[in-house]
């Protein structure tokens, strides 16, 4: 990079805190014109928070913003747009019921005599769609095209606002291999036209292919920077984790015991055409890898009875069981720490106590009367064994950090002493310290003979924690990898439907 030219975008000393957690502790970042900067770091490192601040979605508590050397401040998304900074959301924000042209110009419709100028919108939209290589009629309904194309429409929308900087948050997390390739082509093309891209990704392979420079975040701080010739897998991981991998994932090899759960041709309602078979034994930690949307969460939800199976059989400790509600799953000794812990794992406006005791209330009650002593004991136990940091038991779950919230979810299940623990993205949005504690806990529980099945989109987590892993692709189990076979390449091959395993 040319050090003398004033960067297109430069931020420094950025701080941001949320109740119970300091998300950014004075980070800095700079971006040149026509540069693809990859931003990597584990979940909870502060990447998404920084992106939201850059795009004006959230204000920073402190810090300085320079665009082309000029000081600016963003109060809202429009302020950021005026400076040419646009965020392509992880969850796409198109209105599925409107056509592409209407979506691209939503809120900025050119008018003629007070009415929407349809022909102008169409003409302009065609131009922007062709810039992102989309060859679709502009009156196609946005909801009717696949997600990869929707993403390109989002990019076209950003370009139509004269964006100079595109921020892409995990853009490939739900794309197929082919869609990913198309996206890369578009990004490279935009770069050649002088548009800068900040690219957030967990896929280190993609980062290597695309990035001119990599900035690594860890725990809300800058952890380091890699220039193009330094970008390789090991360097990136070392900066992300802050130590050698083996130290972080402290795993011992367990000899698996008797099978706890075994699925034979189970049909989940999400992908009924693909029967799923797998098994997990006592003391085993089994990972489920795959892309977002591969049906991993749905698999756990079917095992847990949230969306009952349509066919096939499920055996618990060798006996065929019918599980049609979470209640039934719990009585078979299954527990689920869901992916969306705010929606499914916790009752946020309730206290640590009320959350910790929710599943065990009935067991501890006599004739429906609340047993307050048992409730306190369960809470005490959860707070102690999980090291939950809370000022008191009555603190609302909402005001705890993501890590502590996750610990409440785990704590409430440990009170039920499950045989099988299902974990869906167990460390999403959690800081590094809490993450390690959760890994340690998984290790400890497996050591005590619990069977653990966990879904993770974090490659490092699967590689580090799993004794064995299943990989899913579009609703099917595309492969099974033993610990020796586990590698990023093998997982990505299976996850993207490339069935020639490494």
């Amino acid at each position: 990079m040319d050090e003398t030219s004033s960067p297109l975008l430069e931020v420094s000393g950025l701080q941001k805190s949320f109740p119970g957690v300091l998300a950014l502790r004075g980070v800095s970042l700079h971006l040149q014109k026509g540069e693809v900067l990859a931003l990597i770091g584990e979940n909870g490192a502060g990447k998404s928070t920084l992106m939201k601040i850059l795009a004006g979605v959230q204000p920073a508590d402190e810090g300085e913003f320079l665009v082309c050397g000029k000081k600016v401040s963003f109060r809202n998304v429009n302020d950021a747009m005026d400076e040419g900074i646009a965020l392509i959301h992880q969850e796409l924000n198109l209105c599925g019921n409107l056509d592409l042209a209407a979506n691209v110009f939503l809120g900025r419709e050119p008018t003629k005599a007070g009415l929407i100028d349809e022909s102008e919108i169409r003409r302009q939209t065609e131009k922007f769609l062709s810039q992102v290589g989309l060859d679709l009629p502009v009156d196609t309904l946005a909801g009717s095209i696949p997600i990869g194309k929707q993403q390109l429409v989002e990019i076209a929308k950003a370009l139509s606002c004269n964006a100079r900087v595109l921020i892409m948050d995990e853009p490939t997390s739900s794309l197929s291999q082919k869609e990913t390739e198309t996206l890369f082509k578009v990004v490279k093309n935009l770069r050649s036209k002088g548009i800068s891209v900040i690219y957030i990704s967990h896929r280190l392979g993609e980062v290597k292919e695309l990035a001119d420079r990599v900035t690594v975040f860890r725990d809300g701080e800058n952890a380091g920077e890699l220039m193009q010739d330094q970008i390789d897998h090991d360097n990136m991981v070392k900066l992300m984790v802050g130590r050698e991998l083996s130290e972080f994932y402290d795993r011992q090899v367990h000899r698996p015991g008797k099978p706890v759960i075994s699925l034979k041709d189970l049909r989940c309602p999400s992908y009924p055409q693909h029967p799923l078979s797998l098994k997990v034994s006592e003391g085993e930690i089994v990972g489920v890898a795959g892309l977002v949307g591969a049906g991993r969460t749905e698999l756990l939800q079917t095992i847990f009875g949230v969306t009952p199976a349509l066919g096939g059989s499920l055996e618990i400790s060798g006996e065929v069981k019918e599980i049609r509600t979470p209640r039934a799953a719990i009585s078979e000794g299954i527990a689920l720490a869901p992916e969306d812990r705010k929606q499914h794992g916790l009752v946020l406006p309730m206290s640590v106590r009320e959350n910790s005791s929710l599943p065990s209330l009935q067991r501890d009650a006599s004739r429906g009367w609340l047993n307050e002593n048992a409730e306190r004991a369960v809470t005490q136990n959860a707070v102690k064994s999980m090291k939950i940091k809370t000022p008191n038991f009555e603190q609302m779950a909402r005001f705890l950090s993501g890590g502590n919230q996750q610990k409440i979810v785990l704590g409430k299940w440990l009170a039920m002493s499950p045989k099988l623990l299902l974990l869906d993205e167990p460390t999403r949005g959690i800081d590094v310290g809490a993450k390690r504690e959760i890994y340690k806990l998984m290790e400890k529980l497996a050591g005590e003979g619990m069977a653990i099945l966990f879904v993770s989109s974090e490659m490092e987590e699967v590689l580090g924690m799993a004794d064995r892993a299943y990989v899913m692709h579009e609703g099917q189990i595309s492969g099974e990898l033993s610990r020796d076979q586990l590698s990023e390449k093998a997982i990505m091959n299976l996850a993207t439907g490339n069935l020639v395993a490494a």
Binding site: P326, R327, G345, V347, L370, P391, Q395, F399
Partner: protein
Amino acid sequence: MKKNVLGIFILLVAIFVITAVINPKFLNAYNMQNLIKWSSLYAVMSLGVAFVIITGGIDLSIGSVVGLVSVVLSICLKLEGMDPWSAIGITLVLSLGIGLLHGLLITKAKVQPFVVTLCGLLVYRSMGRWLTDNQSIGPMPYEDDAGYKNLEQIQGLDFLFSGKIALGSFNLPTPALFILVLSIAAAVFLRRTIWGRYLFALGNNEEGTRYSGINTDRMKILAYVLCSLFAGIAGILFAFELDSVQPAQTGEFYELYAIAAAVLGGCSLRGGEGSVLGVVIAAAVIRLIYNSINMVGISTHLEFGILGLVILLGVIGDEFLKKAVARKQAAQKT
């Protein structure tokens, strides 16, 4: 929660004192007895709807259930000459059935509570009118009415449901005893049993509660059953209080008073919040406002306007209070 109840209590006392200062007649025993009686009747319905609102639902059919129950009770007593306790039993079973129907339609057929109970409002009202040919009818003989085979027992019930107990020179209306018993029962249920906890939990986060192994459908059905049961009890009390039931009018709009009292008393229509004491006090506030408007000499045409403004301001104040409490909790360092 406690601060919340304190706020509505202060409002009650403030209106009470101001009215008493402006018009000392407000304090006479007859007016007080009336005020207590009507507050109690309203509070019974309000408590019922509070269960449903805590789950995040709504019940618009309460007024029509009150109307239908009082019509059916009157028919049983007058035309059928039924034994009064059996008649009471039938009306209670009828209200339980209505609640169960609501609950099943909402949880199993997945119809929105607003729609289910709006249709209920229409259906029960017209059933009452049809059953009576829209003629007024009462549980007690009115000006030498015919029928009423078991007159003596009916008079006993009349004392139970709308009598007065002399406490020195003060005559305590019996509905006050009903609301006392019902509110204690409701408070114990909500705060001391697991089912009460489940109602609050599912009102806050239904999916999360289900993921914790709770049969949320069954709990929601229970809430609607309780709501209609309370409306049924209110219907019996109103029937004996009014003596003459107008099938087209008795209970009309009562659901709105009940919902207003529940909301003013600290229930959030988003679900997950509410306190029995708050709701009972709020029901009293609503009746008190009516009474005060008369006592102070404000035009009765302004009744609704004043009521609406008080509820609105009360709820806004409550929202501010909650934010302040939340800020305080958030500020506690973890």
